[in-house]
Symmetry: C2
Subunit: 250 residues, 2 copies
Amino acid sequence: MTVRQLSLPDLVDACRELGVPGVGLWREPVQAYGVEAAAKLVRDAGLAVTTLCRGGFLTAIDPGERAAALADNRRAVDEAAVLGTDTLVLVSGGLPAGSKDLRGARERIADALAELGPYAEEHGVKLAIEPLHPMFASDRCVVSTLAQALDIAERFPAHQVGVTVDTYHIWWDDQAPAQIARAGAQGRIHTFQLADWTTPLPEGVLNGRGQEAAGYTGPIEVELFNDALWTRDGREVLAETAARFAEHAA
Amino acid sequence: MTVRQLSLPDLVDACRELGVPGVGLWREPVQAYGVEAAAKLVRDAGLAVTTLCRGGFLTAIDPGERAAALADNRRAVDEAAVLGTDTLVLVSGGLPAGSKDLRGARERIADALAELGPYAEEHGVKLAIEPLHPMFASDRCVVSTLAQALDIAERFPAHQVGVTVDTYHIWWDDQAPAQIARAGAQGRIHTFQLADWTTPLPEGVLNGRGQEAAGYTGPIEVELFNDALWTRDGREVLAETAARFAEHAA
């Protein structure tokens, strides 16, 4: 997503050129290219698929919408398996129109995971609940903290359900270090994503993630939603990102 | 602030007309009008000043900046006393340029309150730490949750330092109900402010607060930062706000 202006072949090519060993893919460009073809493309390039983004959006109340969401998440698991990644990132979904019941929405996520967890396990895929910054709590993701994500994940085996640790979403939370330790002790850190916080936040607040990275040494994805980066040459942005990653995080 | 397009005399007049019994004032328009004159204006109208907004911005590292901030907060206490309100709202301040040390910034707030708390008490004023939504944690307020605010406030007597409970900033937090209970049990809810959350958030995310209110029955301020409301006739907005308050909160 950091360089979504690149086609999949260009992305794979640029990663190979820059020595980037793995890439997190998003479903839409993979589907547009063809899932099997995308899998062959990255496999032939020796590139690891670190995660597939994203399943989730499991908060609907309407039975038809719920069934459709579950079916879509099973397809996402299938796609992850074909791509050869063991991790599907879940963005849980916001409040349904007219609802203010955050707790009820979180319970519906857990209900859905009771169906999706075993299905994912059968396909060799782990589900990684991603807490999103509280500024997204109403319209995108009712899971706002690692503590909330783990409260849900803990109802399931760690090899079925864990969490995504994304610095952009949790940096402000004084409970985050303890919750990262809790997740690690349970083997539930299924992926780690890096982005810096920049101000002022843009309208809609989605695409303002910065390009400096700092302070962690595990397996890391750099995920930058940023309108300005998307207007630039994708290979240049990828090269810069790789260089800053090497400087600050490696 | 909800109707900042109104002059102080027009605000006082409109409140009287609409039967609004109290008003939270901000320092800038009060200073521009004259503190003593503003105090006389509201007193003569029989209008209570519920709070004065705002002191705070206590996170500077530079000694000169710290001294200036403390002096400014003592002036804010003085102004509150002249206006006849017993509550000064504190917005703690963001990270100093170049710093990423949230914990250190919070400690500097506590250090400052050790000086300001007794000064405020001498003037019959309580300080009310306001946690701001985590989307403001870097540039405006390093205190993001009621739990963090209370962790600081508890170091001081409740009649010196308590908290501001503002629905706009804490609605997403599953710990908020328990923390409101904690604050209430300690006599530290020094003011309560209402605003709804609206999406999409505007650029800069400051001025997007909605006009519906729901679900609380104590002393309440309605505080709506909203560019759209500020372009409209202030008396009309105040009348609407009073009507919706009566409908949803009274």
